[in-house]
């Protein structure tokens, strides 16, 4: 006859093992480990979106045509640049045929144009556009996106006469942050 005297002890041992595993699972699944590397994910996304927006604006409609960004810099049109850039960043209320603003304007930017002065060989800059809210507030770090832009001459004023009147390549640098 099989001796069943220790059956209760065995079942108790199995139950204790199951309880241990369940406790470990609960502990591990309820605590979230926030790795410091995770902060860079939102920065990387913002930088990629900003670069994509600039690259789209610097792409002409057909080969040899003038791109939107070239046109905005030549005419120094910050309003159209603001509309185009925020439209590509996902604020659909900023199209030129804008209706109502559909997204909160949490993305802010500051755009600067850098150019080379061929006489002195130095790199100068002038501020080009800022986001409409205008406050320099932010809780997240800012990222920059740059784009080399070809312009066929001197941009309109301002900045006017400080820039050489020649075909050149300038750098449009946009500092973007969520605020």
């Amino acid at each position: 006859m099989v001796d069943d005297a220790a059956q209760l002890y065995t079942i108790e041992g199995v139950a204790a093992g199951v309880i241990m595993l369940f406790t470990a699972f609960v502990v591990l699944s309820t605590t979230t480990i926030y790795a410091p590397g995770d902060t860079h994910l939102s920065e990387m996304q913002l930088e990629q979106m900003a670069y994509d927006a600039l690259a789209m604006m610097d792409t002409p409609d057909s080969y040899g045509a003038e791109s939107d960004l070239t046109h905005y810099i030549m005419t120094n049109n910050a309003t159209y640049f603001n509309a185009g850039f925020l439209k590509y960043m996902g604020h659909s209320g900023y199209g030129l045929e804008a209706a109502a603003e559909m997204f909160p304007d949490e993305i802010q930017y500051s755009a600067t144009v850098y150019y080379r002065d061929s006489g002195s060989g130095t790199v100068e800059s002038y501020p080009f556009a800022q986001s409409a809210r205008g406050e320099i507030l932010g809780h997240e770090p800012a990222v920059t996106a740059t784009q080399l832009v070809y312009i066929p001459g001197r941009p309109g004023s301002p900045p006017g006469n400080v820039v050489d009147n020649r075909q050149q390549i300038v750098l449009m640098e946009v500092l973007v942050w969520r605020g």
Partner: protein
């Protein structure tokens, strides 16, 4: 002679295996902090967009220059001086704003057949962390 009591050995063994598993998981979680930080930083630091932008601008201007080539007179002198200016602009701007050294060579003819001509030019980009070199050949029908 007293017999060894072998009851419960299985439970003890299972408990030992479970605790070893928990220890291993604890090691993995403790290292995830450092791994996440360095991996994300490496991705952020690679200048992918700068290099793509540089390649786009340079290849467009180089194509314009190459298309102006005439066997007797070489490159159009106006376009050649514009091209040199563009390269000087790019060098100064990338050094000033991206802390990168850029070098672009003039296209050099490396091969010529009856029907087409092949040009080689090099792009070099170095921002101290990433060193990028590219040899590009362009073949143009005569």
């Amino acid at each position: 002679m007293a017999r060894m009591n072998e009851d419960g050995q299985w439970i003890v063994l299972m408990g030992f295996i479970v605790s070893a598993g928990i220890f291993f998981l604890a090691l993995i979680i403790s290292q995830s902090t450092l791994v996440g930080q360095t991996t994300a930083e490496a991705v952020i630091e690679f200048p992918k967009t700068e290099i793509q932008d540089l390649k786009t601008e340079v290849s467009y201007q180089t194509t314009v220059l190459i298309n102006s080539y005439d066997e007797l007179t070489g490159f159009d002198p106006n376009l050649l001086s514009y091209y040199n200016n563009y390269i000087a602009d790019i060098k100064a701007l990338t050094m000033a704003r991206q802390n990168a050294v850029v070098d672009v060579t003039l296209p050099a003819e490396i091969y010529s057949t009856t029907y087409d001509r092949t040009w080689l030019h090099r792009i070099h980009y170095n921002n101290g962390i990433t060193d990028y070199n590219q040899n590009e050949t362009v073949t143009v029908l005569k």
